[in-house]
Amino acid sequence: MKENTPPEVVRIYIMGKQYLVPDSLTIQKAFEYAGYKWIRGCGCRGGICGACGTVFRYPGSYRIEVGLACQTVVADGMIIAQIPFFPAPKASYDLDNVAATTQAIQALYPELYKCMGCNTCTKSCPMEIPVMEYISALIRGDLREAARLSFDCVMCGLCTARCPAELKQYHMAELARRLVGAKLTPRAYHLAEQTKRLRDGYYEMMLDEAMALDEAGLRKRYVEREVEPQEDADDWTPGDKTYL
């Protein structure tokens, strides 16, 4: 096995103070290494909850960079500030009474049409989502496209924090996705069939029977149960239909 090489140390600036930290750390772990204990600004530590959106600069650059603190590795000279997540106002609605249209979304978020196409939102997204493109999709009424483009959004709020027109992009995207899911996608027929059976008590006797088995009986049924092949298409049917 290869010898462990000692980590290189880099200088970083947390809220302007210099700290020396190993170069292999993420921003999140570098704060902890430096002595900070997170309360805000740390959630899943796995790049999905959106609690740790962070802004930073590299030395000599005028650009504001963005990233999730739990995913971004430190670099020498990095100047870091974490602005705690602050909630943007969210429209309250009864999904049943919202049409899957641009007009309905605009009624809840009137600033939608204020988008000036500056693309700051897209540049601010740590998830590399084309934010401005999904806003454009919303404006032209293509909710499906907006849902598709925004699907990986972690709602960290960096787009909204930097938008000069003060759009609440991530809330609009959430609304669009829910409308697409609830109103623009066919409901699953097989699911409705199954829930009807459940409500009618169709499976009760089969489950009574399973619950009455002792461990040996259960083991036998478990071992003998037919396993759907991995590679087969969705239309596979088992040989034994007794418990279906």
Binding site: K2, C49, R178, A182, R187, R225, E228
Partner: protein, 554 residues
């Protein structure tokens, strides 16, 4: 960035055996799964089976029960608050139902309690939705495919995966409510993946470890996030009836003179003020305990997973079960270092990726139940010695994700695993072309508070839902049953708590005497003087800083 030269050399061995493995997969020739006896033997390599890893509890309702030191330490610690310093007869907040925890179970409970007409307060340690639910990737199980699957088969799978130890009535509830939960989510617009351009809206399903039918529903590889943000959005739509107190974890339950639960003491993490919440019913939905790093394992869990709910409810008299069984997810990332412990969804194996050793050889069927899969990987690395060494001195095995594009068509990995694809791309690794280096990682608390299928605990007025509870998964939870658990039992807990608040609640003098009594027991047993629980957050501050810290109040 990307793989080191040494690792790139080793990847060539995986590439060398890949064509043959793909040919076998296409011919339907899986690596032979272990028999039940074979599984049992393999489990001796599982961390749970180490005797030195556990001890018997010396106090409380489950005295004599052996579980891991890390949880035992917290159950035997001093309380976070001094009962004599808090006046619980004066309430800062009053509500019908108090939900502790703002993850999937807590939010489901809040929604259902609200639908019963209850006013709800949700108290949560981090933000609403910063929870393990958010991080669940692979899917949610439900027997929705009429004609090839039924709750009966789901029942068998859950019980078999749990070593036949599960509480049967809880399993029955889980599997029969499952399709109803999927319907509920579909109605709220949750974007579960469906077959494209299919007018009958057919939901896509995949296998998971230990399933006999493909019944894993998913939303690409961020199923938990999609479910969590949908539930949270819906709760926020009802903000007038569901008040959420963020960064305000509960630190102790309040009982009344009848011994019923009637609220909790909250702790404002920023101002350090305590609040007393008076409620007619309380739902415990505080989740798991991965951040206790049992036996030093890395974890996939979120920052707040510190067993708080177990500690509070145990002091209030609720026994625990199945906490001796800790789930290690077989596939946590071990490279690059920044991603260590990060969950690689089981769905990668569900779609056919093999697990192979340093020589590129298969040594385990890739869809064994999680404990068996994890034990097999640990054995291959530590016992057989065919692990892959990492640059930081750790060891792992390969998860051969590039197989998936060959089996299912180019672009499949990027489309089905967008989250992981982007993440690894940042580290210079294309997982559709290069395998991932993985090792088991602490993932799930199989056990927890004893409860029944109405989510009632032994303390009237206290309901329990989600990872904090134990019994439904037996000794080992199958993939896709935790998102199901939080939604099924979250909904039941919310509904039952609201009904209890309406019909069964009895007014009575609130107190913290159970905390005083527990303290007496602890002193008598002479344990835990040096620790305080719940710990609320793990401490990752480096030792070099702690050594020079001044512990002064100023």
């Amino acid at each position: 960035m990307g793989y080191t030269r040494e690792l790139l050399e080793l990847i060539k061995k995986v590439e060398a055996t890949r064509p043959e493995r793909i040919a076998r997969a296409k011919a339907g020739q899986d690596f032979p799964p272990l028999s039940l006896d074979g599984r049992q033997e393999r489990l001796h390599y599982h961390p749970d089976y180490k005797d030195e890893g556990r001890r018997e509890l010396t106090i409380g309702p489950s005295k004599g029960y052996a579980l891991c030191h890390e949880i035992a330490d917290l159950l035997e610690a001093r309380p976070f608050i001094d009962p004599d310093q808090i006046d619980v007869t004066h309430a800062d907040y009053e509500t019908d139902v108090l939900v502790l925890g703002g993850g999937g179970a807590g939010t489901s409970a809040a929604l259902l309690a609200n639908e019963q007409g209850a006013r709800v307060i949700v108290a949560t340690k981090l933000r609403h939705g910063d929870a393990n639910t958010m991080m669940a990737e692979g899917g949610i199980q439900a027997a929705t495919k009429v004609g090839k699957d039924s709750p009966y088969y789901h029942y068998l799978d859950v019980i078999g995966g749990g070593h036949f130890k599960n509480v049967p009535e809880l399993v029955r509830t889980l599997v029969t409510e499952a399709p109803l939960v999927i319907e509920w989510l579909e109605g709220m617009g949750c974007l579960l993946s469906k077959t494209p351009d299919d007018e009958s809206g057919s939901l896509r399903v995949a296998h998971g470890g230990g399933t006999c039918r493909k019944r894993m529903h998913f939303a690409a590889d961020i199923t938990g996030a999609e479910i969590m943000r949908t539930l949270r959005d819906e709760a926020r739509n009802r903000a007038e009836a569901i008040e959420v107190l963020e960064f305000n974890p509960a630190v102790e339950l309040i009982l009344n003179e009848h011994g019923h639960c009637c609220g909790a003491v909250l702790f404002n993490l920023e101002t350090r003020q305590t609040y007393v919440v008076r409620a007619k019913a309380v739902v415990m939905a505080t989740g798991g305990s991965g951040r206790l790093h049992v036996q030093g394992f890395m974890t996939t869990n979120h920052y707040g997973a510190t067993a708080d709910g177990i500690v509070m409810a145990y002091r209030a008299g609720v026994p625990v079960c199945f906490l001796h069984a800790v789930q290690y997810h077989p596939t946590g990332a071990v490279f690059p270092e920044q991603a260590e412990g990060l969950l690689i969804t089981e769905k990668v194996r569900g779609f056919g990726a093999n697990v192979v050793n340093v020589d590129g050889e298969q040594f385990v069927f890739e869809r064994e139940p999680r404990d068996v899969e994890a034990a097999s990987i640990i054995r291959e690395c530590l016992e057989v010695g065919k692990g892959v060494p990492t640059p930081t001195g750790k060891v792992g095995v390969w998860l051969d994700s590039p197989m998936i594009d060959t089996l299912h068509g180019p672009g499949f990995v990027e489309r089905e695993f967008p989250g992981k694809f982007i993440l690894f791309k940042r580290y210079g690794i294309d997982i559709s072309k290069q395998p991932m280096l993985i090792y088991p990682t602490l993932h799930y608390q199989n056990g927890g508070l004893v409860y029944n299928s109405n989510c009632e605990t032994t303390v009237p007025g206290l309901f329990s839902a989600g990872e904090v509870s134990g019994g439904v998964h037996g000794e080992n939870r199958l993939m896709g049953n935790s998102l199901l658990d939080v939604t099924v039992f979250g909904r039941i807990a919310g509904r039952e708590a609201a009904q209890y608040a309406k019909w069964k609640f009895q007014e009575g003098r609130p107190h913290l005497d159970h905390v005083r009594d527990y303290e007496k027991q602890r002193r008598r047993a002479n344990v835990g003087e040096e620790r305080i629980s719940p710990i609320l957050l793990p401490d990752y501050v480096s030792q070099q800083v702690k050594d020079k810290r001044l512990e002064v109040v100023w």
